[in-house]
Symmetry: C2
Subunit: 313 residues, 2 copies
DNA sequence: CTGAAAGCGCTAACAA
DNA sequence: TTGTTAGCGCTTTCAG
């Protein structure tokens, strides 16, 4: 079907192809890919789509890839290493031109696959660790540390922490570690903590904050592992008539633009999501075009945005 | 490489394959797909990932596909027909086992491709129109109409509308049409309207609401084309001291669980996103397994959730 | 049952 | 230039 057999002229052939397109004909990329050994796909592996952070990273990737022949294909791991392994296996079996994968923590099998794939691999979001190939991200440990320092500098001393259960989300864990480290340097320890697994983050933030303030009314600062639960907490505290940021201060993480429009701006820290995405895509592109050296690690530096919930030092 | 040549025993071969896996070996699905003429991929084509609604549809699709051999692959169109055509072309060229595509409105070329693909095609989210093959969704026209009726029944009469620019988002347009139709039946006309294109929805809702209330202070109800801008408006009105829902009522659309946790619940309507996703996936599966008849149209019925911003009739 | 061989629909290298 | 042909790495079929 649609072979260019016999002595058909170029114009005729072009006409045929055009007609074919009109009829909804689509070439078979599988055969093409097998023959040419090239697949213009970039595998993008992320933990979740409902976290808002990851769609934004994807946006950054798409934007830079848009003008090229490469296309992102996303796989979701739900923060589960086994699922990451499976998704990675599936995607690599399609022989993509590159891989962008969230995080530096992977199973041995996953690392083996990535190392053996013979394609550029960019690990994103995190730089606290040793990348397989290249990495673009921020140091979450440092982010947590800097927020801890800022909080102490503002004079808060009785600090509570709320976040996701720290087992699977390595970046949240690293922020927490950096945070406690900074507090420890100032002779301060976290006085209360609360974790959640799922549900509407805004509602969870509200519930957890209520529970914590009832349990530990002496707290004067709440550090949240993300902005959504922070916003939930903020709304609850304001309803209760707390003086924010004087009686109690708050901070989150991510600087999600979704929340712009809330009456009070939560203190937060930009996690550079779009830039991470575009930088990662650029690395893949650079590696494909030229013989650029592998193994670069790009650490972006997030800044604290004090908003209205962290009083001036 | 890794040919099963010569007289290697089955056990040896198995051992070799296992070792290969340990080393990160991954089979080539391209060759496999070409040989078997089967690709266990389902193309999912949606307008956006930042809308929250679509990730939820994806969740529904993933959940039902998870236990099968099929895998979703998503493509994003940014609400642009040309981009939809391109994405569709790219995805179809990989010969997926089925297509799930948002909306019933497509370019002629896109329809031709889908019709010619010879695979199950499920159009989702919308049932106001004629599907190419199968469809699962809600009637947005009816949704708008029912909200209009509920608003009139509650005694509101001076109504304003806010939403996205209605050109490309057909479903928002249909809701608007159904809404105005219902109002017209009650002898009421929309008194003011405002549209936005992009930006943080919460912030936009706040801004638009402020602008509209300053321009048309007589309004006693605001209908928003989605919950996020509605929530922004709600926050602004409460800050200004408006009595909601007595002085002014509000309603949005989608019933996003993201907003659970706001002090006041916005009146809204469930858009059945997860169910739409899972039903669509089930249709694909059913068509592949058995010789199920094509062309079914499933209309789900959303219900009004009055929350705290629509007073009782 | 095991093992060899014939393609799948293209691309790329080569021949004319 | 233009047309022909040999694979790409698997699956499937068909002989042994």
């Amino acid at each position: 079907m649609l072979r260019n057999r016999g002595d058909v002229s170029a114009t005729t052939r072009a006409r045929v192809l055009e007609a074919a397109k009109r009829l909804g004909y689509v070439p078979n990329k599988i055969a093409g890919a097998l023959a040419s050994q090239r697949v213009n796909l970039v595998a993008v592996i992320i933990p979740s789509l409902s976290n808002m952070v990851f769609p934004e990273v994807l946006t950054g990737i798409s934007r830079t890839l848009e003008e090229t022949e490469l296309q992102p294909v996303v796989g979701v791991t739900d923060y589960q290493p086994e699922k990451e392994e499976k998704v990675l296996y599936e995607m690599l079996s399609w022989r993509p031109s590159g891989v962008i994968v969230a995080g530096l923590e992977h199973s041995d099998a996953a690392r083996a696959m990535l190392a053996a794939a013979g394609i550029p691999v960019v690990e994103i979001m995190d730089t606290d660790g040793t990348p397989i190939d290249a990495a673009v991200g921020i140091s979450h440990r440092r982010a947590g540390r800097e927020m801890g320092q800022a909080i102490l500098a503002s004079g808060y001393r009785r600090i509570g922490f709320m976040g996701t259960r720290l087992g699977l989300d390595h970046r949240a864990r690293k922020r927490f570690e950096g945070f406690t480290e900074a507090l420890a340097k100032g002779g301060v320890e976290i006085e209360d903590r609360e974790f959640y697994t799922d549900g509407s983050a805004l509602a969870k933030g509200r519930e957890m904050t209520k529970a914590m303030m009832e349990r530990s009314p002496e707290l004067d600062f709440l550090y949240y592992s993300n902005d959504m639960i922070g916003a939930g907490g903020l709304l609850w505290l304001q309803e209760q008539g707390y003086d924010v940021p004087n009686r109690i201060g708050l901070a989150g993480f991510n600087d999600v633009r979704l929340l712009q429009g809330l009456p009070t701006k939560l203190a937060t820290m930009d996690s550079c999501r779009q830039e991470i995405g575009s930088r990662a895509a650029e690395i893949i592109l650079g590696r494909l075009d030229t013989d650029e050296a592998p193994g670069n690690k790009v650490e972006l530096t997030p800044r604290i945005n004090p908003g209205d919930t962290l009083r001036a030092p």
